[in-house]
Subunit: 156 residues, 2 copies
């Protein structure tokens, strides 16, 4: 009475199950509500990058830099930045020394929003970390590092 199930055409190994679960995630991670604001995941990540890069005296990222940091196309970032600017969270000024570049800087309001969302994320993360055992945290880190390594190797 073994092998009663029809061997499906698709793999059913451990990696399959893991990858299927992983694929299903996209959705779960894409909450659009952060700290009561309506912000897409990419916008959240962009605010984080811009806030990180916004050290005093720094020249400000170009859109292409931001695109590289986020792993998005420059065209996507063009529209993303336009949206943040329209909401008054971002200033886009042409670099006078080289007018091909935008220098992206968060406005005061933009920094406030970034801080607010940052607090929200820290809270959520703390809640998750509390719910994971330290063994599970270590496993997650090790396993995903290994998986990314392999995917990147084999993607070339």
């Amino acid at each position: 009475l073994h092998d009663t199930t029809v061997a499906g055409a698709f793999p059913d190994d451990e990696l399959s199950r893991v990858l299927r679960r992983l694929a299903r995630f996209g959705g779960l991670l894409e909450s659009h509500d952060h700290a009561g604001l309506q912000v897409s995941l990419s916008e959240v990540m962009a605010l984080g990058e811009l806030d990180d890069a916004g050290g005093d005296g720094s020249p400000g990222l170009a859109q292409q830099d931001l695109a590289d940091g986020l792993g998005l196309e420059k065209s996507t970032v063009s529209r993303l930045a336009a949206g943040l600017e329209r909401r008054g969270w971002l200033a886009r000024v042409r670099d006078p020394a080289n007018r091909r570049y935008y220098r992206l800087e968060l406005t005061d309001e933009g920094r406030a929003v970034a801080a607010r969302i940052g607090r929200d994320l820290r809270e959520r993360h703390a809640a998750m970390l509390t719910a994971l055992t330290s063994e599970e945290r270590a496993a997650l880190s090790l396993g995903l590092s290994a998986l990314t390594r392999v995917l990147e190797e084999q993607h070339r």
Copy 2:
């Protein structure tokens, strides 16, 4: 000389890094070329579900069943199924007993495509599994199971 970096607004814990890497994955997993065929990831998953469900004598999935299985909206699956039908891989016949339902069945060609893609996936998975140590495989499985558990708990 500790704490020289400005504490960013956003969290920078282990979970942050892991989740960022996870988010970045979407892209890597979305290869559109499987066994030489131009097929989207959702179409691949759909072929797998339909092939699995296609046991002899089974009634065939309804579109809503497939949507639930894939974690997609019924509207998305409506257009997805239309595409598979247009390519001759899927037959959509109204259930005579209840004409609200479609009964989705792969055609012979559809089953052949599913088998071909399945072989391709098994090969890729085998290659990945070979590149992971057994310790890493175990960690990946444990870590992601835990993460999904926590995300699902906290999503409610």
